[in-house]
């Protein structure tokens, strides 16, 4: 039964991700006094793209064709590792937080190379900025992982989900990981995901040349990445409701699913609130925010250490 939970999680991540994106966009629309296109719009967008022919640059090589495959594979694999409905599934043994971060890096590697492959300047700019911001935010993510993992002595995601560490450390770590989520998903104040303007193109710059089915897969995978980060936040900081290890009854799993949905929707609304209330930072002011996340991370490590003794 543990093995069955893995495909369930894969399908869950695949089919929830556009819903979460839709929730964030609709909430932003409502706060901006608009109607918005509806919560199910991302599904329609992805379906439209998946059925379209793609156009490829004549300057690009096989890297361009292969990048969406590697990106989707890496991000989907990362999403599968996080405990969502149940504490334990067949992959729990290898569900390591550092592997999670490294799989994100694999996806980023593939996509950044594709951005450079198109021989256009937008792709290069997108790749350059993407690797810069991810380089700056990785220490903060690692510090958060260490703040949670040091007291329990393990970086296994399920172990971290139930971690019993000081509340102060949890609050600081949550702040740092929230800023990391905003950076990695490219939301305001780091980047504006709604436009294709040069000034706000980090992720959009890299995928500018993609169209049709590959673009649909890339959007889908990016939404899965967003959902993965929100699930990570939910699993580590609000782990209540998850079915216990080995408990495969329908009621427990159903409660787990319901709890997961509520947690992820609430976190999505939180992201929407943040996006609506702050302005986008000038790109070379963004490191200040990311540095603040690293400081929070260091404080979280200290707090998780000092407060419990």
């Amino acid at each position: 039964m543990d093995t069955l939970l893995v495909p369930v999680q894969i399908l869950l991540m695949l089919f929830f991700a556009p819903l979460v994106q839709g929730v964030i966009k609709t909430s932003k629309a409502r706060w901006q006094m608009r109607h918005g296109p509806g919560v199910l719009q991302p599904y329609r967008d992805i379906a439209k793209l998946l059925s379209r022919e793609s156009v490829q640059s004549d300057k690009a090589s096989w890297i361009f064709t292969l990048a969406p495959v590697v990106y989707a594979a890496a991000l989907m694999s990362a999403a599968v590792l996080i405990p969502t409905i149940s504490e334990r599934s067949a992959v729990t043994g290898i569900a390591d937080a550092i592997l999670f971060v490294a799989l994100l890096a694999l996806g980023r590697f593939a996509l950044a190379l594709a951005g450079l492959d198109t021989a256009s300047n937008f792709g290069g700019m997108g790749s350059s900025r993407e690797v810069t911001f991810s380089a700056l935010i990785e220490p903060a993510i690692m510090l958060v992982i260490f703040a949670i993992a040091l007291p329990i002595g393990s970086t296994n995601l399920t172990a971290m989900a139930g971690a019993d560490i000081a509340a102060v450390a949890k609050i600081l770590a949550f702040g740092a990981l929230l800023i990391a989520t905003i950076t990695e998903t490219g939301r305001v104040p780091i980047d504006n995901p709604d436009t294709h303007l040069e000034l706000t193109m980090i992720h959009e710059g890299m995928i500018l040349e993609y169209s049709g089915r590959p673009l649909g897969i890339l959007h889908w995978a990016t939404q899965v990445k967003q959902l993965a980060f929100l699930s990570l936040l939910a699993a580590i900081f609000i782990p209540w409701g998850m079915a216990d290890a080995g408990d495969h009854s329908i009621s427990a799993l159903g409660v787990g699913l319901g709890a997961f949905t509520i947690k992820v929707v609430v976190l999505g609304l939180l992201l929407g609130v943040i996006e609506t209330s702050v302005a986008k930072l000038r790109i070379f002011k963004a490191p200040d925010l990311i540095g603040f996340a690293s400081v929070l991370g260091v404080l979280a490590v200290l707090a998780s250490y000092v407060v419990e003794r």
């Binding site: 894969i10 695949l14 998946l50 379209r52 022919e53 793609s54 156009v55 490829q56 640059s57 004549d58 300057k59 690009a60 495959v69 590697v70 594979a73 890496a74 989907m76 694999s77 599968v80 992959v91 729990t92 043994g93 290898i94 937080a97 592997l99 490294a102 890096a105 694999l106 950044a112 190379l113 450079l116 021989a119 256009s120 937008f122 792709g123 290069g124 700019m125 790749s127 350059s128 900025r129 690797v131 380089a135 990785e138 220490p139 903060a140 690692m142 510090l143 260490f146 993992a149 040091l150 296994n156 399920t158 172990a159 089915r213 897969i217 889908w220 995978a221 690293s294 200290l302 250490y305």
Partner: protein, 684 residues
């Protein structure tokens, strides 16, 4: 699995093989052209024997000694093949196989426009020096006493000096070689201090006897030994700020030699450090580990930052070597700290991380240098800003370099990630095992620094591969590139296959190096990597199963496409020019290497301190600009603040004492008289 139980004399077979290669090179100087590859082929065979001997010794797990001969005064030169020596013999030998095969094709080609390929006398020199270089490195790890070690060390430095300087015609190579030889001899001086102190205490030059006397070393002598060893081996390993020779010397040598220098020679310094810390100078105080960790962090972060600023392919790779040696030193510091704290099982874990990362770095760094050499052979340039579009013109080289770049960026399931994952776990164990908050914070900061260097390495190698191989060629030289010869491809392909297998088969590698760790930490810890099926459900320890990750990636990756195909059927793909706002695309539109790293240069400018000059020409009026001249140079801060002042002080001191050599013979006779009187007084 057990080894072949080879007799003790087989440990010298590779060395005899390399010396035979040297003889073959000398004999081929006046011979026919067909004899050219003979020396390289003998080197390849010797390196293969070296791998077999090393793996067999590791599997047998027995220390073999060979009596050498006596020099004078009771100084013996003998050989000892214990597990640590066997591991380093493996690290030396397997890149040598690839480099020697690669060298056959590399030396047959020209590398710079207007220069021809190396002719026989020069080529014999390179092949012979390469054989001697490998022989001296193998002798270094097999030496069982200080004398043998130092003789091999000096031979290694001299042969590599000749390889760097080449025929002496090129000014840049000469300057690099002189910097290299000065720094390496300063290093040898410090190493000499450290070793002689130990020898005097133990009363013998033999390593086994020194190790036996390590327990009775005085505290200050132990610390002084460590300090000298750190400065000496640290210079050879390229720890900042002692590394100034590395970015000059490594790019100057022929590419297969650069691969050996970066992938193998710097590791011999780590070998020396490990011998001193874990065997010869025994357990020491905690600050040793802390100093190594901090030195490692500084080297790692600054190394990769300078690598991002470089437009020369090989100098960028040399700085990346500095970064990885920093990471290895960080791991060594963790192991030292835990070992000196009397926690051998945790120290063993950290040692696994250090040794695996060392082996993996030898694989992918050598591969990348061979790739850089292939690029230089095909295009005639090493400047990133002049390359581009090579993936369509050199497809196989591109794949090999891509595997190398992905490995060095620590992407799962390739080999770089295994080492970094183990290092993170070691940091976790360090932080969790201690009662004092500073060590926990140090572990956290170490993890943050390691994550930063990992992410910066991803940026650096995306830049290297993306600007160098992808998009359109930026110059005609890049446009005229063609695939390199079969032997060069074979060398690169061999190392790329190693990267793949070391990544997936990391458990096998860990079992192979188990005896080394057991010998060093006096604790036989089981290999830390566990497959998912083997983990008990209660203890959720972090674990990494590369095979499952690889299979999972493949299976999960197909899924979205399968869903799309199932729902919407097949769709077509058209080829069309890219979108650049409606203009016709030109090669000047694509990103440059300098532009790619500009955001990082800006954000880290407090570390890098670039010098920016902007000159605006407006002869008639400030409103009518006729030209803008922009110059940005990165002058490394250690050169600006440390070495420039050091050199200035040295010259100032020389100027001060110059009056002593006035040319007056009466003054010189006066000096002789004074010295004579002093000697008589003191020797009484």
């Amino acid at each position: 699995m057990s080894g072949l139980s080879l007799p003790a004399w087989t440990m010298l077979l590779p060395i005899f093989g390399y010396l035979a290669a040297v003889v073959a090179a000398i004999l081929s100087v006046n011979g026919k052209n067909a004899l050219r590859p003979v020396s390289s082929l003998i080197t390849t065979a010797s390196a293969l024997i070296g791998v077999v001997v090393a793996v067999s010794a590791l599997l047998d797990n027995e220390t073999q000694t060979l009596r050498g001969w006596e020099l004078f005064n009771g100084i013996q030169i003998g050989f000892r093949l214990d597990s640590l020596a066997a591991f380093f013999l493996l690290v030396i030998s397997f890149p040598a196989i690839a480099a020697a095969i690669y060298g056959i094709g590399y030396l047959d080609s020209a590398h710079e426009p207007g220069h021809a390929a190396a002719q026989l006398p020069q080529r014999a020199g390179i092949d012979g020096a390469a054989g001697a270089f490998l022989a001296s490195m193998s002798l270094l790890v097999l030496a069982d006493g200080i004398f043998g070690f130092l003789i091999a060390w000096e031979a290694m430095s001299l042969t590599s000096f000749f390889l760097v300087i080449g025929d002496g015609a090129n000014t840049a190579r000469r300057s690099a070689a002189y910097t290299y030889v000065v720094m390496t001899h300063i290093a040898t001086g410090f190493i000499l201090f450290a070793f002689l102190g130990l020898a005097q205490h133990a009363g013998s030059f033999n390593f086994t006897q020194i190790a036996g006397a390590a327990g009775s070393l005085g505290a200050w002598q132990r610390d002084a030994t460590f300090f000298c060893a750190l400065l000496g081996f640290g210079t050879k390993a390229g720890l900042i700020p002692l590394h100034i020779w590395l970015p000059k010397a490594h790019p100057a040598a022929p590419s297969h030699i650069s691969a050996l220098m970066s992938g193998v020679m710097v590791k011999t310094a780590i070998y020396g450090l490990i011998r001193i810390i874990f065997e010869l100078a025994g357990p020491g105080p905690r600050w040793w580990g802390t100093v190594l960790i901090l030195a490692g962090i500084v080297s790692a972060v600054m190394g990769i930052l300078y690598s991002l600023m470089e437009r020369d392919l090989k100098r960028g790779l040399a700085y990346s070597t500095v970064e990885h040696l920093g990471i290895i030193t960080l791991g060594l510091g963790i192991a030292t700290l835990l070992f000196n704290d009397d926690r051998p099982e945790l120290a063993a874990f950290a040692l696994f991380a250090v040794l695996i990362h060392l082996l993996n770095h030898a694989a992918f760094k050598s591969l990348l240098f061979l790739g850089a050499g292939a690029v230089q052979t095909a295009t005639g340039t090493r400047d990133l800003e002049r390359l581009g579009g090579l993936i369509k013109r050199m497809p196989r080289t591109a794949i090999f370099v891509l595997i190398g770049a992905a490995s060095i960026s620590a992407l799962p399931p390739l080999n770089g990630f295994a080492g970094e994952w183990l290092l993170f776990q070691s940091l976790l164990k360090l932080g969790g095992s201690d009662d004092t908050a500073p060590i926990a914070t140090l572990a956290g900061i170490g993890a943050a620094a390691l994550a930063l260097t990992g992410a910066l390495a991803v940026a650096c190698f995306i830049r290297l591969f993306g600007i160098g191989f992808l998009a359109q060629p930026r110059t005609d030289e890049a446009a005229d590139a063609h695939e390199v010869s079969k032997s060069m491809q074979f060398g690169m392909g061999l190392l790329a296959t190693c990267c793949l297998f070391f990544g997936i088969g990391v458990t096998f590698l860990l079992r192979l190096i188990e005896p080394v760790v057991a010998q060093l930490s006096a604790d036989s810890a089981p290999p830390p990597v566990l497959f998912a099926r083997g983990v008990s459900t209660d203890s959720l320890q972090g674990s990494y199963a590369p095979l499952f990750v690889a299979l999972g990636l493949v299976v999960v990756g197909i899924l979205p496409w399968a869903i799309a195909r199932g729902l919407f059927g097949k769709v077509g793909r058209r080829i069309a020019p890219p979108w650049v706002c409606g203009f016709r695309i030109e090669t000047g539109m694509q990103y440059t290497a300098t532009a790619f790293s500009k955001p990082l240069r800006l954000m880290f400018q407090f570390v890098i301190r670039p010098d920016r000059t902007v000159v605006i020409d407006h002869p008639d009026s400030p409103y009518f600009v006729t030209g803008v001249h922009y110059d940005e140079t990165v002058r490394p801060i250690y050169e600006r603040y440390i070495y420039d002042n050091l050199v200035r002080g040295l010259f100032g001191f020389s100027r001060l004492i110059r009056p002593m050599q006035g040319g007056s013979i009466r003054a010189y006779l006066g000096y002789v008289l004074v010295t004579l009187i002093l000697v008589i007084v003191l020797a009484r």
